[in-house]
């Protein structure tokens, strides 16, 4: 069991880190635009993390329920649907909070007022909502295949979250500018 855990975590981590490096290349290409928007570097870590936090918690809750036999491994399960709804509401609320924090910190610490950062954050949050059903589906699929979703879903959601977040930022920046 320990060896299975080791190989599952290592394989998932390898994929996650490679995905993160590819997202880093995307960030390097966007560096010119990012440097022109004050406060965006304040927003980026929180935004990248938010997707991992929310999807990671959701996946972990669902995994616990599946292992305990309380949830059915189906997208139509009532508690699974409630999890998706709660995650969607939290994504929008936390995107707004992150935008406000970035705006306020930029104004307070650097004396730069840039309200568009709040709009960028909320738009990017809404674009990234597409990740939620995909995360649930993958958790159920991994469970059905006989693997432990806890070993795989953490790296999976952060990798997917990075791609979706960088893509969402691109769209949000394009919409605002």
């Amino acid at each position: 069991m320990a060896d299975k855990d080791f190989s599952e975590i290592l394989a998932a981590e390898f994929i996650s880190v490679t995905g993160g490096l590819l997202a880093g290349i995307g960030l390097a290409f966007m560096a010119g635009k990012i440097s022109l928007i004050p406060g965006l570097f304040i927003l980026i870590p929180g935004f990248l993390e938010m997707r991992g936090n929310l999807s990671g918690s959701m996946s972990s809750r669902i995994s616990s329920g599946l292992f305990l036999g309380v949830l059915k491994p189906s997208m139509r399960d009532r508690i699974i649907k409630s999890n998706m709804l709660a995650t969607a509401i939290l994504v929008v609320v936390i995107s707004l909070v992150l935008g406000i924090i970035a705006y306020a910190s930029s104004l307070y610490f650097f004396g730069i007022e840039n309200f568009s950062i709040v709009i960028i954050s909320v738009i990017a949050g809404m674009v990234s909502l597409s990740m939620t059903p995909l995360t649930v589906y993958t958790t159920i699929w991994i469970f059905r295949k006989g693997h432990d979703p806890n070993n795989i879903m953490g790296p999976y959601v952060t990798t997917l979250g990075d791609f979706v977040s960088v893509f969402a930022f691109m769209i949000a920046i394009a919409v605002v500018s």
Partner: protein, 232 residues
């Protein structure tokens, strides 16, 4: 919920043990306490979505504040950061990797508590499952941090960034040191807060993942910024 003033004191008492009916259900239906606990949190008569939002929102706002502080570190030295390409490429991977360990450690620890693989009364490290988890995570952390440092430099080199042994060594050092230091902190925080949350009869999953990933994010950004300022 409207509570009569004379009952407010009773309402504020923290839950420290299971309700009597839980013992009755456990005996009658032969369900484990863990299953009943999960049913209490998200069962058919509960509003699962509002329970999740209510339990998660505070910690998520805290996580947002912490990671924004980490972001301030990067914003503050963004000129230096943008000049060294391996650092830009490394940032999301490093951030992810440390966050991943936060999610893996906390979700596996939460499951160990639920399923009784870790007995809180006997001490956490008495559990062989816990010791194996620590060994596996540290070993994988070393391998993947070396991989991140080397590949981010390799990708930068392919994009035209010049090879310099001193810069390469610094990039590798940042990757390995950030990872190992933060994985150690995440383990300590996961165990301490996991026990605390579980003893309050709440679901550790709603607290541990956000708190460990925000520590990973906040810590990695601050440590990363500090090392970049010191080394470059």
């Amino acid at each position: 919920m409207n509570i009569d003033k004379k009952f407010i004191g009773i309402h504020k008492i923290k839950r420290s043990r299971h309700h009597n009916i839980i013992h009755h259900i456990h005996k009658k239906h032969k369900l484990s306490y863990m299953t009943i606990f999960y049913m209490k949190e998200y069962g058919t008569k509960s509003h699962a979505a509002s329970t999740i939002i209510k339990e998660s929102i505070k910690i998520l706002v805290l996580a947002s504040i912490l990671s924004s502080i980490g972001g301030l570190g990067i914003e503050n030295m963004k000129d230096k950061f943008l000049a060294i390409m391996p650092l830009i490429i490394m940032l999301p991977a490093l951030n992810d990797m440390i966050g991943d360990y936060g999610t893996i450690i906390s979700s596996k620890f939460a499951l160990m508590i639920y399923t009784g693989k870790v007995k809180l009364g006997r001490g956490i490290f008495a559990s062989s499952h816990m010791r194996i988890l620590i060994r596996n995570v540290f070993l994988i952390a070393i391998i993947s941090s070396i991989y991140v440092g080397a590949v981010s430099y390799g990708l930068s080199y392919m994009q035209g960034f010049a090879f310099d042994l001193a810069i390469f060594a610094k990039v590798m050092g940042i990757s390995v040191f950030c990872t190992m230091a933060l994985v150690s902190i995440i383990f300590l925080v996961s165990v301490a807060s996991g026990i605390y949350v579980y003893k309050r009869k709440e679901d550790p999953n709603n607290f541990l993942v956000p708190i460990t990933t925000s520590i990973a994010d906040f810590g990695s950004m601050l440590l990363f910024s500090f090392l970049v300022i010191r080394l470059f």
